[in-house]
Symmetry: C2
Subunit: 152 residues, 2 copies
DNA sequence: GGTGAAACATCGACGGT
DNA sequence: ACCGTCGATGTTTCACC
């Protein structure tokens, strides 16, 4: 289940650069190209690599606003309906079930405050007994998808 | 500054699949391979595409724990030191300056509660006047890097 | 933005350790 | 079980239209 040293180097490179050419990966690892490709394929099969994506500037894509919404569900029979809405709404980037006074924490990106208002008032608050508490991000200091490598 | 319809389709595909082959992109857009490559290169130069990355399963990489830490800075002269620490700590994936009672919201991934304790007690709380409020994620319902496309 | 040819990278089969 | 070599195939790249 855990990663050997070569896989660690590989994963770390893939997190930063994405997949470029096998030959580049190969001489990074001191292997031949087919061997590097094999390792990547195995990591994909094991689910360590979930996929590949381009990182898009949210502002360039017209998403100027970033907000975190804490959600409380006071009627637990609304849970399924809430989770269904979370999946359906493309503005909701993340939804975590969390400890503390609230039930869920949402990370939301949208065009402007008007779009946020619509999301909260029409999409979320239309569920009975659902309370929200919204925090707006004024600026982002750091945002990376890189994980701390573990030497295990 | 804004994206035409072809660029929108392109960006949407790149967010989901990463960069595969020019020919695949080309016939998705109804263009020739060099034309598709040109568009991608221009988007990279404009900063719309920030880069490419593999999506790694945090659990597979040994990061079992996800937490959100709200940080209050009661002495504003500590701000520079705090931001420097944020950059240096690889467990901190995100740091946003936010509205509300607290100043910053951190998204943190680490190995276990022991690593989280070390991060909070030794790395963060060692700054004078810094208060934290930590929320643990029990499970993650949704987590995507995709953005809602805007037709502009 | 399209076309063609040269350069390059990938994929699969085979052999070695 | 994992890695290297080699040849066939497919893809990118560049000059030019």
């Amino acid at each position: 289940m855990s990663l050997d040293e070569t896989d660690s180097k590989l994963v770390q490179h893939l997190m930063r650069q994405g997949r470029t050419t096998w030959s580049e990966l190969a001489n990074l690892l001191g292997l031949s190209a087919p061997a590097a490709a094999d390792r990547v394929r195995r990591l994909e099969e094991r689910g360590v690599i979930r996929g590949y994506a381009a990182q898009i500037s949210p502002e360039a894509a017209g998403c100027e606003l970033l907000a975190f919404i804490a959600v409380s569900l006071e009627q637990s029979q609304q849970r399924a309906a809430f989770l269904q809405r979370v999946e359906a709404l493309s503005e909701i980037q993340e939804c975590h079930h969390v400890t503390g006074a609230d039930d869920y924490l949402l990370k939301v990106r949208c065009r402007n405050t008007q779009a946020l208002e619509r999301l909260i008032s029409q999409e979320l608050k239309s569920l009975d007994g659902l309370k929200t508490h919204t925090t707006i991000a004024l600026s982002t200091v750091k945002e990376t998808s890189a994980l701390p490598l573990s030497a295990s």
